[in-house]
Amino acid sequence: MSSQTENALGGSLSQDYRTTSGIPVKAFYTPADVAGLDAVQDLGLPGQPPYTRGVHRDMYRGRLWTIRQLAGFGTPEETNGRFRMLLDQGATGINCVFDFVTNRGFSSDHPLAEGDVGQGGVAIDCLDDMRRLFDGIPIEDVSVSLVLSNPVGAGAIFAAFLAMAQERGIPWDKLRGTLQNDFLMETVVLTAPNILEPAFSLKLSVDVVEFCTEHLPQWNPISFAGYNYREAGADAVQEAALVIAHAVAVAEEMVRRGHPIDSFAPRLSSFFTADNDLFEEVAKYRAARRVYHRLFQERFKPQDPRSSRLRFHVQTSGSALTAQQPLNNVTRAAYHALAAVLGGAQSLHVSAYDEALCLPSEAAALTALRTQQVLVHETGVTRTADPLAGSYYVEQLTNEVEQRILAYLKQMDDLGGLVRAVESGWVHRELMGTSYDRELATTSGERKVVGVNCFTDDVPLEIELFRFPSALEQQRATLERLRAERDKGQTEAALERLRQAVLADENTMPHLVAAVRAGASVGECCDVFRALHGGWHQPLL
């Protein structure tokens, strides 16, 4: 017992303590640490510039965060069943994840895809799959997040969603939801065969933003996926800085295309993680809102206050979860969720305790949902906005995170902007470097992970793992039927028009909707993009 207690304290009080992203932490804080803080200029009230204290005046009193648990595995029918279960149990939004094959815009019958169809997300190949995925789900009432990470496939799959909505007689301007549609996901965070050039991937994502600005005023056409930057290695500062740099890059491109900032900026949205370092995470959300507001004011001079408000979804960290002693993950995820709510998130997914082992089982998914409901109904955290405001520590940490975000943004500006920083491999190297340092700290035991490098068990606890049949056979059959039933001439003509649109640098979205309606598969649409702008090699090593 005594040796374990010593381990837990981890050293003497005179030790150099730092947050996870390396910010020094003092033993205590006093008013002197926040002496320069202007309560009006730097904090304001909740719902007022610079939005440090949150984007809404009455915060969760006025509108609770959306309880949006991620779901997606196997066939469209299986995922549809999980959607229904979550909605029946009190979830208030859909959050659909797709398998890697779909996300990358390949057909399920691609030779490389054999082991991945329906793994880690649902498999979608065509319009008919989309009909079955949302069968009986009231998409006119429930907001739908489609976690289509990569711009290469996001447009085509979104096009299938739009075509399905139209068949059901739901006008596009009534649809509410979010696409991820993040070119960093495609070029930095994840890997795949045949990757699009970063500049073209960004172009495709902005096509969706432009299309939604004209046709889907309630849709968030992009969600800057800080969560995933973090999972790929970033620390809290890098996560927030990359989100903001990305938002600026998209806004610049939209302005270049002739769209006034206020026509689209209110619908840009972001996505953050909630990781272990509770106060640093809260400081991150607060600092990010302030930097985002000031930067958008300075660069784009919007008139609409919503144009410089950073709204975000949070998913509790996946990489902080452990395969060892998996029930500890329930506790971890609850702390993560608390950080998100103390930081003013608009929407939340709590990760399931079995995620370091398998896709979430129904029991684990339900426990994650219940974690949110306990937070809402039992802890009282929703009573007042930005409850940590005025804490010497949290305000000082917010300032420090802000300064570091600004310094990081300056570095990217000096490199020629985000796209150049990606093309040169700088972003990859940054994330890998941070990630590797953290791994070494875990290996050496300097960073403690309960159940992994301390307080370990001799006899591992086994939990029941979630298993489901492969979706490959059904998807193959779907594709065969599609190819047999469609008017081949029409499909080919639609794909050719898509190709011409790419060559002429037109917006691809209307052509994707037309192609999907004309019987093109998602894979065929995306092959058009890859043929013209694929083959980019990630500068990894």
Binding site: D99, F100, V101, N103, R104, F106, P111, L112, A113, E114, G115, D116, Q119, G120, L190, T191, A192, P193, E231, A232, G233, T322, A323, Q324, A356, L357, C358, L359, M432, S435, Y436, E439, L440, T442, T443, V449, V452, N453, P460, E462, L465, L540, L541
Partner: protein, 136 residues
């Protein structure tokens, strides 16, 4: 003395490369040569192992495609007479899958939370510090 040579690959469409890159980087730090080939089919992975004359093949699975891809790789290695190659699997691999793949010929599985040093130590012990140490 020649370096220990390791080929690292992601199988199929599995898109999460961070774990594989962390291991690759650490093995290089520990004095090994690492060839990272990204997302490949079993045939291409085995071809690279043979062409590079590697003693170790590191496979990383997060998406869950290992039960389809790994057995195929093991069979191909056998067909090529390269069963001496140590096959390491890392990532999110359920215990039952670990047991089955170890039975089929995977040399070791390092799940999430494994220490980088433990992986490097294992390779050094299994392969020795050069090709001469391999037990054929």
């Amino acid at each position: 003395m020649a370096l220990i040579k390791v080929v690292m690959a992601k199988m199929g469409f599995d898109a999460h490369y961070r774990g594989a890159m962390m291991v690759a980087r650490h093995l290089v730090q520990r004095g090994m040569e690492v060839v990272y080939i990204g997302n490949r089919l079993p045939e291409e992975i085995v071809r690279t192992v043979i062409d590079e004359d590697a003693q170790v093949l590191g496979l990383s699975s997060l998406s869950g495609n290992h039960m389809v891809m790994v057995p195929r790789i093991l069979v191909l290695l056998q067909q090529e007479g390269a069963e001496r190659v140590k096959v390491l699997l890392g990532g999110v691999v359920p215990t039952e899958d670990q047991k089955e793949l170890l039975r089929q010929g995977v040399s070791a599985v390092f799940g999430t939370g494994s220490s980088l040093d433990a992986i490097a130590d294992w390779i050094e012990a299994a392969v020795g510090h050069g090709p001469d140490a391999i037990q054929v």
